[in-house]
């Protein structure tokens, strides 16, 4: 009895030794990681699925081939994780693929590295580089429909049509967030794209109040903007040109998308503050904005290049899915305006949805 107890004590001791050693190793691991990574590595956070495949084929592979820098591609840019990494001073991501709202919010909170000048050919960029962000591409939001059920003339083509339930009866979708939706409401009410900002918030909510009964789903998850149309759950849907392009190509649907009027959002690239591989990250940003890789990347994943010289390099089929950037009907989301207004407006919008 006594012997067995003794043995159990020594066992416990050795057990403690092993476990504390392991715990210490685990705690030290992040630091080991970063010091090793400083040489020839890069961590890129981008979106999943086809999108990620396009980024890897069109951008990451040629980048590694040219520079020898190994790129770890991670899924799903998440601002909460950025905040956690920066506030705990344990930054593990380098390059962040940020939609407008996230890019602006990160700039607002000081989560991004300042971008030095000379990284890009500024004359070639359709939208200027900002202090913390470089525009990567634009995506076109607009009206999608099924031409088999709603032939030419029967479906809305502009946002004014979309908000005109009398002329175009049918079930619609809108997003469950203030950003984009408030813009759509104002454009739908006849505001000219040039006069959109600052947004007339009160007017936008009045317009939304009127359309509410015809909105079948306030969509939270972006893929649902397409699946609802595919299954006939809604008659028209507010979605994105590249999503419809991918659906028609990969799922052999035959959906239509109106380019008569689009609301264009900007996707940015940013470098996290104190990123472990800052130099490589800046190299990557510079590489991603070169005309040939802007073209190969957008060819692979959809989206409109920011580089002017990339357009002639795109295939005819890809150009068909891009909005005309010069058209007066098309509007651009103003991310800087949103940076200061996002929180109160999103809160008000959610409250309005629940009422």
């Amino acid at each position: 009895m006594i012997r067995s107890r003794n043995r159990s004590v020594t066992d416990r001791r050795s057990f403690l030794k092993v476990t504390t050693g392991a715990a210490a190793a685990l705690l030290a691991a992040p630091n080991i990681n970063t010091s090793r990574a400083a040489s020839s590595e890069l961590v890129l956070v981008t979106w999943g699925g086809n999108y990620r495949q396009g980024i890897e084929d069109g951008l990451v592979k040629p980048f590694t081939k040219e520079t020898g820098i190994r790129v770890t591609v991670l899924d799903t840019p998440d601002m909460a994780k950025v905040k956690a990494q920066i506030t705990t001073n344990n930054v593990q991501w380098d390059v962040f693929d940020a939609p407008g709202s996230m890019g602006a919010s990160g700039a607002f909170h000081g989560y991004w590295e300042e971008l030095p000048s000379g990284l890009f050919d500024d004359n070639d960029l359709l939208l200027p580089k900002q202090k913390y962000l470089v525009p990567f591409y634009t995506f076109a939001g607009g009206i999608a429909y099924d031409p088999a059920r709603y032939p030419e003339g029967k479906h809305p083509k502009t946002f004014a049509n979309y908000f005109n339930v009398g002329a175009f009866p049918g079930r619609r979708t809108l997003r469950s967030r203030a950003m984009e939706t408030l813009e759509l409401a104002l454009l739908g009410d006849g505001v000219a794209p040039a006069d959109l900002y600052p947004l007339d918030v009160e007017r936008a909510f009045r317009v939304l109040e009127k359309i509410r009964p015809s909105v079948a789903k306030w969509v939270e998850a972006t893929p649902q903007t397409v699946t609802l149309l595919q299954t006939g759950e809604t008659d028209f849907s507010y979605t994105y040109a590249n999503r419809i392009q991918a659906s028609n190509r990969d799922q052999s649907t035959n959906l239509g998308f109106s380019f008569d009027q689009t609301l264009n959002g900007v996707e940015y690239l940013a470098v996290l503050k104190n990123a472990p591989n800052r130099e490589n990250a800046l190299k990557f940003l510079s590489f991603a904005m070169k005309p040939e890789y802007q073209a190969s990347c957008m060819e692979a994943k959809g989206g409109a290049p920011i580089s002017r010289k990339a357009y002639p390099l795109l295939s005819k089929d890809s150009l068909k899915w891009l909005p005309n950037m010069e058209s007066k009907n098309n509007a651009f989301i103003n991310d800087e305006w949103w940076a200061g207004n996002l929180e109160p407006l999103e809160r008000r919008f959610k409250e309005w949805l629940l009422s």
């Binding site: 998440d78 998850a221 649902q224 299954t231 006939g232 759950e233 996002l342 959610k350 629940l354």
Partner: protein, 276 residues
């Protein structure tokens, strides 16, 4: 009865207890810390108490969790009763069927329900074919859709504890009742139901606790008004990046779980004492 079972359990329970302490209590402590502005003020709680967004989400959460638990209990109890009456081999096969939806990703299932419940989904197309008229029952993007998605996920969690209780009932009791001339309904009400109560309690408790934290089902299958507290936590964590408020909502959700869990544990303990 309870004490004899618990005596000497310490060393066996300790590793699991220490692990859960580390992986659960430490983060919870951090959330508490954040919700009080690093221990300096209760402002975040004051803010959410004044927010109508929070009040609505809170009401929705409690109502949805309540009904989802009740419906899952009724459905799960029937399944468990049926399973208890099968031979062991058949029961094992049927149990796999119960678990099958449980193993499927909730995200995939939620998309699948769009195809089943949609306006032109399987149910509505079948009804249209049957009646010869266009039927489009609103089965989705409302409270009904949320209930279907949630009970589909939660029912197996009722089946297993209830089944364990049912199988533990001494078959001699049934025989004795039959010999005495009791009708099936009376046997059910005086033997089956009271003796399966511990399983029911355990099942409903775990289901209610899970139901309070549902997130993806209300987002995909719910209507605009089906916003639950977990969705609100997500909104403040990822969109607004206000972690003090997010933590305050999380603490409230946690307290809500406690309100469900503590009385149930107490009831169980007194029951055990009576039984012993």
């Amino acid at each position: 009865m309870v004490t004899s079972a618990t005596r000497g359990a310490g060393p066996f329970v300790a590793p699991a207890a220490i692990l859960s302490l580390l992986v659960a209590l430490v983060p919870i402590a951090f959330i508490l810390y954040f919700s009080t502005m690093e221990g300096t003020s209760v402002e975040p709680f004051r803010t959410i108490l004044k927010s109508s967004l929070f009040h609505r989400a809170m009401t929705t959460t409690v109502v949805v969790a309540f009904w989802a638990s009740i419906i899952s209990l009724v459905l799960g109890y029937i399944v468990a009763l049926h399973l208890a009456r099968q031979t062991a081999r058949r029961r094992a096969a049927l149990m796999v069927l119960v678990l099958l939806p449980f193993w499927t990703s909730i995200l995939v299932k939620s998309y699948a329900f769009t195809i089943i419940l949609g306006r032109e989904g399987i149910i509505n197309s079948f009804l249209s074919w049957l009646t010869g008229a266009q039927v489009a029952l609103p089965l989705i993007f409302n409270r009904f859709g949320v209930m279907v998605g949630m009970t589909n996920y939660l029912t197996p969690l009722i089946v297993f504890p209830v089944l364990a209780s049912l199988l533990a009932i001494d078959p001699a009791l049934y025989r004795a009742a039959e010999v005495m001339g009791a009708k099936p309904i009376r046997i059910f009400l005086t033997i089956t139901l009271p003796l399966s109560a511990p399983g029911v309690l355990a099942g409903v408790l775990s289901v209610a606790v899970m139901a309070l934290g549902f997130f993806i089902v209300p987002a995909l299958l719910g209507g605009r008004q089906d916003l639950m507290l977990a969705n609100l936590v997500d909104f403040y964590t990822r969109e607004v990046l206000d972690w003090n408020i997010a933590s305050a909502v999380g603490v409230t959700l946690f307290a809500l779980v406690g309100i469900f869990a503590i009385p149930a544990t107490l009831i169980r303990r007194t029951k055990g004492r009576i039984a012993s």
